[in-house]
Symmetry: C2
Subunit: 457 residues, 2 copies
């Protein structure tokens, strides 16, 4: 059922702004090339190890952030022993092999191709400081940043860790000025300039960001950005800290700011109102240069622009830039790694890697998809190392459906094994309803178990 085809997607009507697809005369709505847009040359500041650490269920430390999934070959000796008396397969099998490391995730993100990796402030704790130093010593291609309050003491501590740059931040909304730090705009501007000058004197890259930018006074905000631009900041940051901004507000603010500063513009969008991917996209259209992401979007509350979701959005408009720059085939491994580290399930509706992202069900869709996948797909699953699944069965627990799912998960089983697995899944489904991801876990456990039995025999 799972078929991989050549990439014929996205030829019509997608955003070709600065992109690489030929403009199609068949759709007059194809945007004309846009001077402002950076859709075809954006950079990613990956903040899983900073914003992601603020996710409720994230407790990153060098001993905790671990995974059996990424490039680590499992060996027999450290496989978990299976209790023969267990009636119920564990939903998540214990790690087959472990490399304990926060460093590991930094290497994964670097390997994926992100431009920057942002870390928690070394002022947060002694462990954060030590982690920061250790990651700087890895010699990654990605530049290492740390996110610090706009205080001289924090900046001095950060400079000593060996990072490539500092992301300075201060709240500028009247609410944050009243209830958080208590400074007025004059004080904010003065301390911003002082800290920026210090960081530059140390030869490091420096960004200055407001917090809660969309609830800040526009005139104050532009004055502040102009002042830091004038002293030579490398980037200014716009942050939708509470997730309130709508796409047209974002476009207008970034476009206005683009006319005020010469430096790069970084953007940071929370997802409280579901617009974090869209807002990042329109910000790039308006002239922003950098987007903050985290893996699966983890962060404060319901998080920020997800790395995978941004890739889904960008590949439609800038296919060659995105596929040429980022190792998209690693996305699923990275997401699985982080999901396991913070004990969440990847959402069923996650762009690209959600269980149903490339599953087609309606009869009319299925027919057209078989004739030409571009009819109902804007993203070619093969670009992400994924495959599509056309849903012919009426129940997920039909063995043909399970077989297709096994193939989609990249596992090898004989038909006899699939039938045995199907009967086990049906038996479990009689005990309690199974979520799709539960079923996937059962499939993986079964596969692991059979692999082990074969090795033993």
């Amino acid at each position: 059922m799972a078929a991989v085809t050549e990439n014929t997607n996205g030829l019509n009507g997608t955003n070709g702004t600065n992109g690489t697809r030929p403009s199609q005369s068949s759709n007059p709505y194809q945007p004309v090339p846009d001077f402002l847009s950076n859709v075809g040359r954006f950079k990613i500041i990956e903040s899983t190890l900073r914003e992601g650490e603020q996710f409720a269920n994230a407790f990153f430390d060098t001993g905790k952030f671990q995974s059996p999934l990424y490039n680590v070959k499992s060996t027999k000796s450290n496989r978990p022993s299976r209790n023969k008396n267990q009636d119920v397969l564990p939903l998540h099998s214990p790690p087959a092999s472990v490399e304990y490391s926060l460093l590991y995730s930094a290497r994964m993100l670097d390997d994926f191709g992100v431009d920057y990796i942002e870390l928690t402030s070394p002022a947060a704790s002694e462990q954060s400081r030590a982690d920061c130093e250790a990651i700087c010593k890895l010699g990654l291609k990605a530049k290492i940043l740390t996110h610090v309050r706009c205080h001289m003491e924090d900046a001095k501590l950060a400079v000593k860790t060996g990072v490539d740059g500092l992301d300075l931040v201060i709240g500028t909304s009247s609410l944050l000025r009243e209830f958080s730090h208590g400074k007025d705009m004059t004080q904010i501007t003065a301390s911003a300039i002082e800290v920026i000058n210090y960081v530059k004197s140390q030869g490091l890259e420096v960004r200055f960001s407001s917090e809660d930018s969309f609830r800040s006074n526009l005139v104050d905000l532009l004055s502040l950005y102009r002042a830091v631009n004038d002293v030579g900041v490398d980037r200014v940051g716009v942050a939708d800290t509470v997730g309130c901004a709508s796409p047209r507000q974002v476009y207008d603010l970034i476009r206005t700011l683009r006319g005020v500063v010469k430096c790069d513009i970084e953007t940071h969008f929370h997802n409280d109102t579901g617009c974090a991917i869209a807002n990042a996209y329109v910000a790039l259209e308006a002239g922003a240069t950098h987007v903050d992401t985290s893996v699966i979007g983890i962060g404060e509350r319901n998080g920020i622009t997800p790395l995978g979701g941004l890739m889904a959005r960008m590949i439609v408009g800038s296919h060659d830039y995105v596929t040429g720059k980022y190792k998209l085939s690693k996305l699923k491994e990275i997401e699985d790694f982080v999901a396991e580290a913070v004990n969440i399930n990847v959402p069923f509706n996650n762009p690209v890697t959600g269980v149903c992202a490339f599953t087609h069900k309606a009869g009319i869709h299925a027919k057209a998809i078989l004739a030409n996948p571009s009819t109902y797909e804007i993203i070619n699953p093969a670009d992400f190392g994924m495959s599509r699944y056309v849903h012919f069965t009426s129940r997920l627990t039909g063995w043909n459906a399970i077989k297709s799912r096994v193939e989609q998960l990249g596992l090898k089983m004989t038909d006899e094994q699939v039938k045995l697995l199907t009967s086990k899944i049906k038996a479990m489904a009689d005990i309690r309803p199974l979520a799709i991801d539960d079923t996937d876990s059962i499939i993986r456990s079964f596969h692991l178990e059979h692999e082990r039995l074969e090795e033993a025999s």
Copy 2:
């Protein structure tokens, strides 16, 4: 830990377009009232029972769509018996009481306040036809629509079911014309006019939608919409069937169309590139009148604009309209109901109802949130009957954290019970990693069990 405060959110910088919040001079970026915008007077076409049925894991029938959660009092007699020898609590306890009914979900959506409920075409199967008739007989406030191909036979069958209106659809992209139905634009226009005239002659409401609108030729599309507008169609529909559209494309197309037709404009956005909520919002800003939604966004592939996510987006700009029209406090029950019916977990990052939507962790956030929740919240959780949680503990399994979570879930337990529960959760976490939603399931199972024991004693 969970505190509910008065609604002081969203006072600054949110989209006041057509909205009800006072315009704040403190933010010059506050949009001025916009003639085109329907952000403050939109209507919802709820399509869980049509688009949602196309979700890979949805198998709706009158015997399957069931729930113990919504307004149904459980009685002792139909509670599941518990196997005393079970070592592991079931993650999802079996339904405590059941009303088997597709009709039930229609009543829930009607009670929530959606304007329309869209059903699968009666031409799909005899069961679909019977369901359609049965739902029409419920006497709901919401208008009942059915979504049918633009064929005279399908339209005649649909009219007989007693629906209030028909949503006609046909593919207009070159891809669909070539690989799906094979008609050219002249044929499409002629059959559209024929079917529309028939439906109007029967006294029913009629919508005509293209499919894959954003990959259709703009001139063809506008010609077709003008033709159906001229014969008196009630609504035209714009559908981003493959989820490729970006917010500014949406705004431009809808604004252009707004100048071409006098009738209402309905929009339908898939979420493949993560923009389904944002696109619905900008479409309303550009003059669209109706938005298609489904509960948790279920639909083909990774789905469409979610009902809850749209509420999160709209309440920020149009607080009084949204809270006055929709029973937001029912959202979580409805989402839990549908999630159970289609065997998915509500995503951890779901707007409003995701486990962490109102959880604050970073020290600086926690401090400000305690002083004034509006500092880091744009949505007041109380508007949705939810509560906030400020994260003080360093591990989820601390008993104080479990206690807060129990309170957040609205369950009553003594401290002794919470401590016992905490020890059980810790013991289970030693066996396998627990996702947050797994932990919630365990908490609910424990609560149900103790309630049952208390009733028995």
